[in-house]
Symmetry: C2
Subunit: 260 residues, 2 copies
């Protein structure tokens, strides 16, 4: 297959280069187009107010194009400027850190896959529940087998969101196709003081385990399963559309300033 490979940890990240090697070994044609610098938690950010630069990168580990922007910028550039024809698949990852539940909103890894899916390109986001992995060879090989296994035509305009638990692959209990958790982070800010005496804040947070539905991605992942979730991006709440229509129809007039 012809595959665009990107990520949000940047073009030098272990997850990207390991997956690159495995995809090449599996016989795919791989175009690496990835951020030059780490872009974690940038969500679906896109660079509008600044120009974008690209840099050709080639060494023994990786060959591709580094982009001075976000993961979504990389995908837009790949699909509109760099590739002549749409690729068969876009793969984003392997990300350092899981992307489950609301992480999907914050994640640059998933956003890259989303951008491809919206453009009609099949897309796979891959993450591991470990912020500092040192060997992802088995996971990368697993990804290659999964890519071969899936009938991608059935998942048009969707993202398949794959997450590995923080375990060697031979300790993994299995793979679960499951929904994202609806549980959210418990956030707080640590207030600290810098060397010049000025205060600053740093975000902390975790998803409380007691809030997790046991059949959701976060729960399975913590129990040692690989999780796989199909994602779509229609935010419209169709049930509430009707409810809201009722609220608005009852005598709400655009220019009637009397109705205060």
């Amino acid at each position: 297959m012809e595959i665009v490979l990107t990520n949000d940890d940047g073009i030098w990240a272990i997850g990207l280069r390991t997956l690159y090697k495995s995809l090449i070994n599996a016989g795919h044609q791989v175009h690496v187009i990835a951020p030059l610098t780490e872009q974690s938690a940038v969500g679906h950010a896109v660079t509008l107010s600044n120009p974008i630069r690209i840099k050709y990168v080639k060494n023994s580990n990786i060959q591709g194009i580094g982009v001075s922007g976000t993961p979504v910028d990389c995908v837009k550039l790949a699909l509109t400027k760099i590739l002549k024809n749409p690729p068969d698949l876009l793969v984003s990852g392997i990300n350092n850190g899981a992307n489950v539940g609301v992480d999907i909103l914050y994640s640059g890894t998933v956003a890259a896959a989303t951008e491809a899916a919206l453009a009609g390109v099949s897309a796979l986001a891959v993450s591991i529940d470990n912020f500092s992995p040192t060997d992802l060879n088995d996971q990368a090989e697993f990804v290659c087998r999964l890519i071969k296994k899936i009938d991608w035509k059935k998942f048009k305009n969707r993202v398949l969101n794959l997450n590995f638990p923080n375990l060697p692959l031979n300790k993994v209990k299995g793979i679960k196709v499951c929904p994202q958790t609806q549980a959210i982070y418990k956030d707080w800010y640590e207030e600290r003081v810098d060397p010049r005496g000025r205060p600053y804040f740093w975000l902390c947070g975790y998803i409380p385990e007691e809030n997790l539905s046991p059949k959701s991605d976060r729960a399975y992942l913590s129990k040692g399963y690989i999780t796989l979730t199909p994602l779509n991006f229609d935010f419209t709440d169709k049930k509430l559309l009707t409810q809201l229509q009722i609220e608005i129809d009852n005598n709400f007039e655009v220019n009637n300033k009397e109705v205060k």
Copy 2:
């Protein structure tokens, strides 16, 4: 009501200060917590790798807290650090530029509202289909009337996404409760050369009108209607879950490297 007001155009933007004045005049208690600098198209980005600074801002137009981060950072700070109790409502806007269809993914304005909704706070995102509005007094007053009209308890964990057309309010045709458009941007990059002879790229794009469903937000907005859409943030494609389960169940084993 006790309202948190934020945006993505920054604390000095016309949309924020006009809405601030109207909300105060309407008798609300308003906490402004907004980015210190423009944060357009940052999506759901959150600042993890850097500290966050805050700055108290007070002049004749606005009083509040400026944050050295993204709209989502502002909401997290407001809800976890600055306010003692959850507010009744979070309002994000009025944004320079519409947020309809896939804009919802790219938009910092909507992301701020989403972050509040996920935390259980009712949320309204407000945008106008104009990148350089000069007078938003009528729109701000409309927002105040809408806030009073809606029974917010019915829209828990949802964002109401409000968009004004690029017209004076007395020329607006009406208000449409409608789904987001599924049409996507036709993107391209302009390649230019900087004064030092190096190439750079700048994103351009528009949503082709022929792709718009006539009953979607973008279509109504272009025809002169105000649009209002309830948004939810469960990305799981429940129909495809079953389909994917079938794909995966048929003899796919995690550690079976033979199944290449």
